[in-house]
């Protein structure tokens, strides 16, 4: 243990504790901008500086270890002066038009500047300007960047994709696409983890709200929206509803108030995905010699982009089943439109997703099969739907519980856990067991694949056959897993990959909380919804049964092949609007 004083208080901490951590233990929160636990402790912003009696220079509390006998002042004159100056300097490079910023009200720079009472500053105001294709789903605005380097670190350390880097030296240092490449060619997965870890509005997703309003305002257009599983676990965060009040029913009510004609649940097609992908897995499993192993899930477009750029020779190992979003899109403009009695030409198909890469997926030319333009016309993130609710002055307190529209609002518990890491695998195993044995397993039989570990593995006995599965979330973990597979160190039959740590619950389109990782908590909500759902199996979803009976015929059948499957090898990587 190390004994020291912080602001006059004596404290003992373990060796290797930083001054920031030590201060936190006694209730002193040292302001900081670049520090991000476990990812970024580079002492760049110099806002977290503290003074040690007898040391001339101030210490960055985020990466200075507590030492025996230190006498630390977190808010001395010298500290206050330097902290304020450094924030003022950052502001001098920051486009402070806060009112026009997506992160206004949820911006660490704004908070710190306000807390310090900075009402004016003495410097030239010189925000850096950059060129950026505003149609690209991921947008970097250099004028808001405070060079905290979190994006670089997240992309390096968590996602292992190295899209961002520090470019230039001296006064021209900036963050940019590594090696100055075009963003289109940077092999970006579009996972959006850099966005959710950005302390300001320098990184954001493309804003599609204006287009959404156009469709909503057109009386001729029928707007049909699907809502992804993980959205229900996070939507309340963005409009200030506590967890216990942010129910699924209130979410539907909130979205209804925005003026959508039909509101359906992506869980319906999550169940459909299970039917198709589960059947495909069994088909491959029975004809093992015809395929390369393992088979991978394909519902995460961040992962699809990753595998297409990093391991193109393995794309064929991904399931050909479309993601739930795209299955829904294909069904909306065909079967569902018919069921609703609307002209598919007039249908505007919308999805609300916890994801930024979904904005790419919907634009992939090769994924559209309904015959009526894009199967999904627009993708809104959880944050965008939150903004729309706020813009529509939806009072969260007055929301009432209501149901999704029938019947494509029906989803099983197996579908809702798609939003958490391991969920797709678990859902698939539940139905695969049934398809093989004709009997339902205990719905919780496969819960070994739950949890936040980045790379999980398990073996299950399914009617005498051993199925070896693995689940990875986060692309850094994914790369490790794939390298191990390629090196022959591990072998599996079925592998689920989600680009974002914790799966869609921690998706790049979800509400942002400075310094907090929410994926685990949100995942728990989803598992809770599974537990209380009367339907625990995709193959028991009545909407699924009805769809096959009336329209799709059978899993892997002719119709589903045409509408619900896709050849990922043909997908363009280039992002189109």
């Amino acid at each position: 243990m190390v004994n020291l004083k912080i602001d006059g208080k004596k404290i003992s901490v373990k060796k290797g504790t930083t001054l920031m951590e030590a201060a936190e233990k006694i209730g002193i929160n040292i302001p900081h901008l670049c520090y991000l636990e476990g990812i970024n402790d580079i002492g760049a912003c110099r806002v977290c500086v503290v003074e040690n009696a007898g040391t001339d220079k101030l210490l960055a509390s985020c990466n200075t270890m507590a030492e025996e006998g230190m006498d630390i002042f977190t808010n001395s004159h010298k500290v206050r002066k330097a902290r304020r100056t450094n924030v003022e300097l950052l502001l001098s490079e920051h486009d402070c038009l806060c009112a026009t910023c997506v992160r206004s009200g949820n911006c660490e720079l704004q908070t710190v500047a306000n807390d310090l009472g900075i009402l004016e500053f003495p410097y030239h105001w010189q925000p850096e300007r950059n060129k950026w294709d505003k149609d690209f789903p991921l947008i970097r605005d250099a004028s808001k960047c405070i060079k905290c380097m979190r994006c670089v670190q997240v992309c390096d350390k968590i996602q292992d994709l190295h899209v961002w880097d520090v470019n230039g030296s001296g006064p021209h240092v900036t963050v940019g696409v590594a090696e100055g490449s075009d963003m289109q060619e940077a092999d970006c997965s579009l996972c959006g983890q850099c966005i959710t870890h950005c302390p300001t509005g320098a990184l954001r997703e493309r804003n599609d709200i204006d287009k959404m309003y156009e469709a909503l305002e057109d009386p001729e257009t029928v707007t049909i929206v699907q809502v992804a599983p993980a959205v229900r676990a996070a939507w309340g965060e963005g409009i200030g509803l506590p967890k216990n009040k942010a129910t699924l029913g209130r979410m539907v009510n909130g979205i209804r108030k925005l003026g959508f004609d039909y509101i359906f649940d992506t869980n319906f097609t999550a169940d459909l995905t299970i039917m198709e992908e589960g059947s495909e897995f069994l088909e491959r499993f029975k004809n093992k010699e015809n395929y390369n192993w393992p088979m991978f899930t394909s519902c995460c477009p961040g992962w699809v982009r990753f595998v297409k750029t990093q391991y193109p020779d393995m794309v064929k190992q991904l399931s050909t089943a479309k993601s739930p979003q795209q299955m829904f899109g294909a069904m909306i403009k065909t079967y569902i439109a018919k069921q609703l009695g609307v002209d598919p030409k007039k249908v505007f198909s919308v999805s609300v997703m916890p994801c930024t890469a979904k904005k790419y997926e919907r634009g992939v030319k090769q994924v559209n099969d309904s015959g009526y333009g894009s199967d999904v016309d627009i993708v809104l993130t959880t944050r965008e739907i939150n903004r729309m609710m706020r813009a529509s002055h939806v009072n969260p307190e007055t929301l009432k519980n209501e149901e999704f529209d029938d019947v494509f609002g029906i989803g099983s518990g197996a579908a809702v856990i798609f939003g958490a890491t391991g969920g797709v695998m678990e859902a698939a195993l539940r139905s695969a067991y049934f398809l093989l044995t004709g009997e339902n397993p205990d719905p919780d039989a496969f819960k070994k694949v739950r949890g936040m570990e980045g790379w999980k593995e398990a073996e299950f006995d399914v009617s005498g056959a051993t199925v070896r599965v693995a689940v990875a979330s986060g692309l850094g973990n994914t790369r490790k897993l794939i390298e191990a597979i390629r090196a022959g160190e591990v072998s599996y039959d079925f592998v689920e990959i989600m680009a974002c740590p914790g799966g869609c619950a921690g998706g790049g389109g979800q509400p942002i909380h400075e310094g907090e990782e929410m994926a685990e908590d949100r995942g728990k909500i989803l598992y809770g919804l599974d537990k209380v759902n009367e339907l625990r199996f995709s193959h028991e979803n009545p909407a699924i049964l009805k769809s096959y009976e009336e329209f799709l015929e059978k899993p892997l059948g002719h119709k589903s092949h045409k509408l619900l499957h896709t050849d990922l090898t043909k997908w363009d990587i280039e992002v189109k609007q």
Binding site: I42, N52, N63, E67, G168, S169, P171, E179
Partner: protein
């Protein structure tokens, strides 16, 4: 009113003078990998600040050049390759029409950059970043970046500060199996850009390494990896071959070294006098390498192409590290006379233990490099009564380290500048009597930035000599490699930066035989590189790491203070023997010196990108 005043410096001028010094040190401490275009812009701004403002090209032109280069750096939408042409035309006009050097030299600096790093200008225009070669060179830790072997310098300096000398040596050995040899003779490129220079002066890194090896006791090598059954032949038992043997053995491969001479060590033994690197200390270091089970065949000359081919057949890989042991001839009349010899021959004989006596003789040494100083000082130790170092350029143009030149002078050698050898005068028996030299005058600068020596109109001069020792450079004996088709047109072995000889599969080469005569640490780096790439070639990926934990860097007060210099034995006594001349630091000195380290592995970019490398 007085008719004349003596101007005295006012306070402002005194401070400005000291700021010049600060800036000089600061520029000297520029770390590798800075954006050259940005640097050009910064220097231009500094130059413009010196303008008196009288003339148009300098007053206005330099500012417009600044604007144009800034445009390139900012990547504005109007910037094209044409902007670069405008920069060039403007700079040329400023160069050609400025009235004084303030203007035309500033423009010249810009033009130099346009020629020297045009690709960076273009890359900025096209992509908004520097060209890739610069980015790859970018280093967070200047000393590590400049050490060819990438030794973990902040790591071992901090271990010295904690008194963990054994750990310090272990850490060095992760990257360099010759800590003692390097502690004594390394040219320490690591110190060249030490960030501490910005405060006062570079850390005496070599001195601290010496303190570590002097106090560590014997450091056993780490555990070898499991045997792979692979066999590797190393041709040449110098620093590069021995380094490769060390790491390849640690990786579990079986290595055999073929050495032409009687002893191992290469130029560490046959090029460096024992008063700088005592033989027994070198041997201790070599013995540790051999203790890993390296086989050695001494006095085996692999000089025929068939012999190399046979090794290639009998072994899984071959590493060629034969060094550069042939000497350049003077090319003057009388060179074949008795008493004329090369530095290489003289030092080789001594390395084999054959001391010649120069008792009472007069010796002329030709050359201005470290080898020239070595032979001059060796000649004094062998009893020469007079040693003249004749050099065709000025003393300040010598490539020898200043401390070597001063050491030679202190030991009674005379440095005679600006004398080019002209002919050897002999007696009737063919023995050297004197060397005639042509006095030189420094002319225009050549490519190396030094004035070209030109014949002056002064008459030739005669230097009486019993011996003339030429030390004007070494080269490699390339015949074999030429026949194998793997020699460059300069007679070196043709290998890439990964030490791979692309024309012969399974053959690698490095060290002086590839680079031409260079430093020990560069040869060691080549041996390390070759080991890594041979391991990969054989289908393995053994990682070399070390189980030494370095303490977290601490912030401390860093007032400017003096650098501890190495002391030498008094010249009067040291010049009579071959005992080591340098003395190590005291504990007190070592602690103060080590505490000066700024720990760039943590502070600055080190904590973000490019911290300490734990393994390779």
């Amino acid at each position: 009113m007085s008719r004349l005043d003596i101007k005295s410096q006012d306070q402002a001028q005194i401070v400005v003078e000291s700021l010049y010094e600060d800036m000089e040190r600061r520029v000297a401490a520029s770390h590798p990998g800075l954006c050259p275009v940005d640097t050009a812009a910064a220097f231009l701004r500094l130059s413009h600040g010196q303008s008196c403002g009288k003339c148009t090209p300098c007053r206005v032109g330099l500012e417009q050049l600044e604007n144009l280069i800034d445009d390139v750096l900012d990547g504005g939408k109007d910037v094209t390759k044409n902007t670069i042409d405008v920069i060039r035309t403007t700079a040329e006009s400023i160069r050609d029409s400025s009235d004084c050097a303030i203007g035309f030299e500033a423009a010249n600096m810009v033009l130099k950059g346009l020629d020297g790093f045009l690709e960076d200008y273009i890359s900025h225009v096209e992509k908004g970043v520097c060209a890739s070669n610069i980015r790859e060179y970018s280093e967070a830790i200047p000393c590590v970046g400049l050490c060819p072997a990438r030794v973990d310098i902040p790591g071992y300096v901090s271990l010295v500060l904690e008194g963990r000398y054994k750990d310090a040596v272990k850490l060095i050995k992760k990257d360099n199996p010759f800590p003692t040899a390097c502690a004594l003779v390394c040219e320490h490129p690591c110190e060249n850009r030490c960030r501490r220079t910005m405060i006062d002066a570079p850390i005496n890194i070599r001195g601290l390494k010496r303190f570590a090896v002097d106090n560590s006791g014997k450091v056993e090598p780490p555990q070898k990896a499991e045997s792979t059954g692979k066999k590797i032949a190393v041709i040449g038992g110098g620093p590069s071959g021995l380094t490769a043997a060390y790491y390849l053995s640690l990786m579990g491969h079986k290595v055999k070294i073929f050495e032409k001479r009687k002893f191992l060590g290469g130029m560490l033994r046959y090029g460096i006098p024992s008063y700088r690197l005592p033989r027994e200390r070198l041997q201790e270091e070599i013995d540790i390498i051999l203790s890993l089970g390296v086989d050695v065949e001494l006095e085996t000359d692999i000089s025929k192409p068939e012999e190399v081919k046979k090794l290639k057949k009998d072994y899984d890989a071959v590493y060629i590290a034969v060094g550069a042991h042939a000497f350049q001839s003077l090319g003057i009349k009388g060179e074949d006379s008795r008493g004329v010899l090369s530095a290489v021959e003289m030092l080789r004989a001594i390395g084999d233990g054959n001391m010649i006596s120069l008792e009472g003789k007069t010796v002329s040494v030709i050359g201005g490099g470290n080898v020239a100083m070595d032979v001059a000082r060796t000649a004094r130790r062998l009893g020469a009564k007079e040693v003249n170092i004749l050099y065709r350029r000025r003393r300040s143009d010598m490539t020898a380290l200043n401390e070597e030149i001063e050491g030679a002078i202190a030991e009674g050698c005379e440095v005679v500048e600006l004398k080019a050898p002209s002919r050897i005068e002999t007696d009737k028996d063919g023995n050297v009597k004197a060397i005639w030299v042509k006095p030189q005058i420094p002319g225009e600068l050549d490519k190396s930035g030094r004035p070209r020596p030109c014949d002056s109109t002064a008459p030739e001069e005669r230097y009486e000599s019993d011996f003339v020792i030429s030390a004007i450079g070494q080269k490699i004996e390339a015949g074999t490699f030429d026949k194998l088709g793997i020699a460059t047109d300069r007679g070196r072995v043709s290998a890439d930066e990964a030490c791979i000889v692309s024309k012969l599969k399974g053959v690698f080469a490095g060290g002086d035989c590839v680079t031409g005569p260079a430093t020990a640490i560069r040869s060691i780096a080549a041996g390390k590189t070759a080991a890594a790439n041979i391991d990969e070639y054989l289908g393995y990926h053994h990682e070399i790491s070390v189980d030494v934990e370095v303490s977290h860097a601490k912030q401390a007060n860093r007032p400017p203070m003096g650098r501890i210099q190495m002391r030498e034995r008094p010249s009067a006594s040291r010049r009579k023997d071959f005992e080591e001349i340098e003395e190590g630091m005291t504990l007190e000195e070592a602690m103060q010196e080590a505490s000066r380290c700024l720990r760039c592995d943590h502070f600055g970019m080190g904590s973000f990108k490019g911290g300490r490398e734990q393994k390779w």
